[in-house]
Amino acid sequence: MAPKRNAQEAFGNLVVPHQISAFAAARLAKQSKHVAAYQEPLEDDERLHDAASLAQVPYDGNHGDTSSDAESEPGNSVLTSTLKPTTIIHSPAHGKGAVEAGPDGRLTITLRNNETTAYVGEYDLRVLEGIATIYGAVLAPTSSPRRRRDGTVVQISHVQSTIRVLDKLSPLFRNMWRREDYPTRTFQPLQSPADGDSQHSPLPLEIDQRTETVLSRLSTEVDSTARLTRVMAVGAKSSGKSTFNRILCNALISKPSLQKILYLDLDPGQPEFGPSGQLSLVEVTAPILGPPFTHPASARSPNYSLLRAHTIAATSFKDDPAHYVACATELVQHADRQYPLVVNSCGWVSGLGASVLHDLTQALSITQVVLLEPLDAGLTAALQTSCTDATFHRLPRQPARPTARTPAESRGMQTMAYFHHRAAKATSEPRWSSKAISSRRPWLVSYDGPHAGIQAIISYGTQPHPDFLAETLDGSLVALVRLDSQYERGVLSSSHHTATSEPSADDSSESATTAPPSDLIKRTKDSLPYIAPTTSGATAPLDPRFSECVSLALVRGIDTPNKVLQLVTPLSESQVAALMDQTLVIVRGSFDAPEWAYLEDLHLNGRESGMETERPWVSRTETVGIEGAVWRLRHPPLAG
């Protein structure tokens, strides 16, 4: 019977500690940096060196993510494993009955000191006796912790799989959860790396001695400084910042005296807690285990509660570093100094990135800087001279890990999960909606007239030509930003379409006194309201002190005859209801194209169906040979 076999296998994968990393390093070196995790890569991967094939490729910095500057997601890249072994796998002697399989597929595992075990998938983990650590978090039995001198008993049980509904909607989420050997279980033991299929094997997470030392120093710091600790890890891309931050967070919230930390997510390219382009302050009360798309922060989440967010509407702050720093500075004002703050900086450590990091350490009053070396000596010196009060810790950067997804793909997955995430009722686990985003009932938001639901469309970065604003907006991602009512007048000037219920006479007289009568809001020929750029060419970004990013939205369609935008947002109806009397603007910028959204219903309904209808921005691609390396748009299949 299956359970017994499972138990055997699981047992076979028990691992022993401190058998270290030469093996791991060698294995890493062998692996190509970018592992193809798809059977069908989404990226065009024909190796045709002729211009006709290259002519179709966008030149936007996203091509060729195999180059070494691609930021991997250390620790969660290859597989979505919620549990990482801390050492390389080595099978102990068989026998001993260390793993028992329960009736409902749950496993009870007895571990001796310093043993680790690894399971891949989604599962509940309970420590029955002793103490276990996972990704830096320390777990103990919830009731009457009994110390056992000789080890720990943990129980792993399967869960109602939730996030896996996304498999059906996008190939990005497939081939990630290992083989389906155990249909009744949402997890399975990690095979040893000696097995075939090594490209898909996850690598164990190693917390080396130096990291341990830094962690314990930071932990002591938190205890002694009455928690006025603000930590920022500084390092290049793929140097292990996010992994370090997670381990640190998990270690800190495991302290019984603390149980809560604040996380300032300032990496708009690969955020830990939100969709890309967003900077957020999050209250963390549970260990951060899965990859970022498994734990989006939201205002209602009991574990990762979103306190406040701003958007820069781009995956990099290169267009407006001052606004980026202003957003970060504003967010930190909302951080309760009673709790330690962990800052997730982005991995841009040279040039403009270095000077922004320098500004951030001062603006955020960072007290602890963790340098993941090697770093540019100039940056290190600059940080040290400017932050005389801060303590500096040094760690070697972690070796880059192979990634299964390019950064653009990871962002796509994260944004997709964000849109499918259902705000969970308190205490319950996050849930994901299995409906294709195209069949979600959109919000119909009027953009003109006295009851307009949004007041203006603001472009960050480069502004599209007003004649093309509708075409640019249609089917793209935007951010919904709420403005404070006093500030609204300044930004929108004498807009006569304010959402406030004041009588209109009053309205106009007031705006005449507070602002020049010039109306900043212009309208396109479709009446879309927009704010024209100043003579310097850019639109002034919204002041983070008086505005707040509420959510992202997908412009599902624009109903120009009725002057209605169809927006899909992850917000619940009650959250939208609470926004109805607020001043809202739409911010667009250089968000990634939501390619996943255009294809979800196609993937959901299987092959052939769906392309018979008009489908904007999508065509079928045939695999092309050398001679015909151009698109051939097929005649639409006559299905049925």
């Binding site: 190796r47 045709l48 060196h49 002729d50 211009a51 006709a52 094939s53 290259l54 002519a55 179709q56 490729v57 966008p58 030149y59 091509h63 060729g64 195999t66 180059s67 259902r422 909606s433 409906k435 195209s438 069949s439 979600r440 009932r441 919000w443 119909l444 009027s446 006295p450 009851h451 639901g453 599209p464 093309f468 640019t472 249609d474 089917g475 599902r556 369609g557 009725n562 209605v564 169809q566 619940s572 109806e573 209801a577 109805m580 250089s590 255009y598 052939e608 209808t613 008009e614 489908r615 921005w617 999508v618 065509s619 079928r620 151009v630 698109w631 051939r632 748009l633 005649h635 639409p636």
Partner: protein, 438 residues
Amino acid sequence: MPRYTIHPWRTHTDLLTVRDQLYHLDTPAPDARRYAVDRILSCWKFRGNLPHAVESTALLIDAQLHHQSQNSERSDFALRAVYTAAFTRFVTGFCDIGRSREGLLQPSSMLDVAKRIGMPVHFVGLRHEAVHEELPSLGRLVGAVDEGLRWLWEVYWSRLEVSALNDVESNGRVDDGELKDEVRRVLKAFRSSRRDAFRTNRQREAEHQSEVEAFAQACGRILDGDSRDRQDVEMFATVLVDERFLVPSSRSLGDSMDGAFTLWDPLLSRLIQSQRRFPATLVERLHTQLTESTVQSSKDVASEAFALWLLHALELANTYATHGSTDASLQAATLRVCCLYPGSWTKMVGQRLLEGDAELMADYQALFEASVLVANSETMEVDTEVGTAHDGGPSELPFSTRDELVAVRYSALHDHSTAAVGWRRALFAPSVPIGIVA
């Protein structure tokens, strides 16, 4: 498994239009090139996934347009700088992409890449000169940009197919009016064939059965037409319902509809079986008929007929639909319509549905009764409690419906047009792809 490409143009036709404008293939409107360049650089570029060939073409032509413009402020440097920037971006992009495609550890030189991809090597030479040496003279730049545009035509634009898809969109599609006439013709013929059969009492004969079969196939062909568009199904249902094919002309209030049902059932049941979208579209059309008649007078003969047809269509869908769960959601959708548009006939439909289904009863009865009350007394307070987290599960439908009620009433308070309120939740889940307004 098919692979899909996402591109910034909405349809292939858009891309071909832009090509014609850029390369003067159409009758030259004076601003056509400017318009096409702006569209590429100031719209498609922002949408992402813009092929480098398209972007380069727009950059090079933008430089030409800059040169041709009558701006007296334009300095020689500005002119050369614009040409240079466009040209270097064009060349660098191709070489970068080519290089990353090679995936070599030791990246090859730009010159090597250019040779390999068949780009004239002097493009690379000119780029090198422009970046590292003096800015090239205007004459050389103008020549190089022309040559670049010809090369781009060669490697990209000329290879775009005026595809079959495009034919369907522009030429192959039968004109909508013609198709409608065709539908009318088939429906009328079917109706008279059935009437004749009943009159001569041969409705059960094999000969007549095969006639019916032929009509069903004719309708199927219309619905399966070239474009296989959802619009065809909608158009069909619109003709069928709106043009009163289903309602006996001599009908008076309270008459039984059994005759009409018997007449149409053989055709409708076959279409429900064979056309995935037909049941929902038919029911939707009937909803519209019921809710659009502004005065839902209890005396209205047609409204009564549509209400009875609605109930009958749901039953048919229930019996014949082969496509899974559609029937249950259709009933729920109908109930929501009944709640949102209280009137004597929607009330009748709602009551019948509730009586027939215990589950619906549990979900909707309270709401339904409340809506009837709302209709009767305008001062009725609607519970403003909005639904908590919902994932679209059937048991949560009543919550969202209540929200809709709130929104509808809210708009009714402020304005009599339904588009008045800032945020409203769409009543139905759309069945069209992103980017299409249903």
